[in-house]
Symmetry: C2
Subunit: 212 residues, 2 copies
DNA sequence: ACAAAAATGTACTTGCCGGTACATTCTCAA
DNA sequence: TTGAGAATGTACCGGCAAGTACATTTTTGT
């Protein structure tokens, strides 16, 4: 019954014209990203964001059209952070050792976070996919990038003969991403890394069944 | 040793003392469940719930301590609905045909929903796991039940010789549930059933690798 | 029938939140 | 120096949502 906003702010003009302005704008996005990760989109007020960024609310509206625009920016920022957080392994998933190291890093990070927060992108996707077309579009792009990292590794392994030719890189990559997301959701719900480990181990083991 | 934490919502006294009261209470939970599925917890106001249930807000507070208690009730209600929605297959996952039928039903349902909403339990878990201990406890129980259905099927297949003895029912079941949740999240984000299909197919195919 | 208990309706409070208006301060280039 | 554009601060508005108070109607047990 909700009215889904049809207007898409294609590419919001960056209203920060000076280095100082850019820095302030970046502080706002950083603060918003951290708060959204902890409290969710609905749970994060712009007053909170302003306080965390040591900035008045008028500043937020000076640099962003509305809350939705700011959130979209948060998603692009978090996409970079999430992918960077999986380096160096995610760029080198062309051998089984890298897959294992990537898996271990993901599990360790959740352990250090005491299984809170889950995936910054998955959480936002879950909250906004059906109600914010702009955010959804950015999130689709984010997941595409993430998935491509997996697909690239799989493709290179096929080329190197480490995986058979009948391994479908695209759908396998999609399944791996789903395993990550589902594993993180169960991890933060059960407050245990076990479900994440089971999910990642299963998807990597399935990949291994395509070894020659 | 450890006292299994029962949610306050479940153990709290049901204040509906008459059939009429029970009916009203049930109407409230039903309306809340539907609205939460569409708009999320934060996006659902108690005024909306009251309007949908044709009930004053005082009624809601007559039957529930607060919003959180109502939501916990919604989770238990949705758990029943989600599991029932996967019948008859989910109770008979002791042969490959049932797994396929179960998978097809899940995909078809998302297709009919135009890939909106995702999993009613997963969405709530994502929103509340870190902020509402009561709801989290109920959700853990929900996921346990769901997973147990998978584990039961796997165990029966092992007993029947359709799966090898080294197939770990518990962790495989956990991986399947993660695949469902991750697949549904990507499904509703990408507005396509493809990621869900890839995820479910991969996890079932992995199961099959444990066939003798 | 009739009190007691349960169910229900109306109206209100309080606080927060997205968004706006507008004045003021800062910065830099001509 | 100065003035125009950029950055920032303060104050406010309207609406909504959780939760409360309390009166009224309906049902139930005896």
């Amino acid at each position: 019954m909700s009215i889904i906003p049809t207007s898409r702010a294609v590419s919001a003009p960056n209203r920060a014209k000076t280095p100082k302005g850019q820095a302030t704008r970046a502080r706002i996005v950083d603060a918003a990203a951290a708060l959204v990760f902890e409290e969710g989109v609905a749970g994060t007020s712009l007053d909170d964001v302003g306080a965390a960024a040591r900035v008045g609310k008028s500043q937020i509206y000076h640099y962003f059209a509305d809350k939705s625009s700011l959130i979209s920016e948060v998603v692009t920022r978090q996409t970079i952070a999430v992918l960077a957080g999986q380096e160096p392994h995610i760029s080198r998933l062309d051998n089984w050792g890298s897959w294992a190291a990537w898996r271990d890093q993901l599990v360790r990070e959740q352990d250090e976070n005491h299984c809170t927060g889950g995936c910054p992108l998955g959480s936002i996707a879950n909250e906004l996919a059906d109600t914010d077309e702009d955010a959804r579009a950015v999130l689709v792009d984010s997941f595409d990038q993430w998935e491509r990292a997996f697909a690239d590794g799989i493709t290179r392994m096929k080329a190197a003969g480490a995986l058979r030719a009948d391994a479908d890189a695209a759908s396998l990559a999609s399944a791996v991403l789903a395993a990550v997301q589902g594993g993180l959701l169960l991890c933060k719900t059960r407050k245990s890394t076990k479900p994440l480990e089971a999910s990642l181990d299963a998807s990597i083991a399935y990949l291994r069944t395509f070894a020659p």
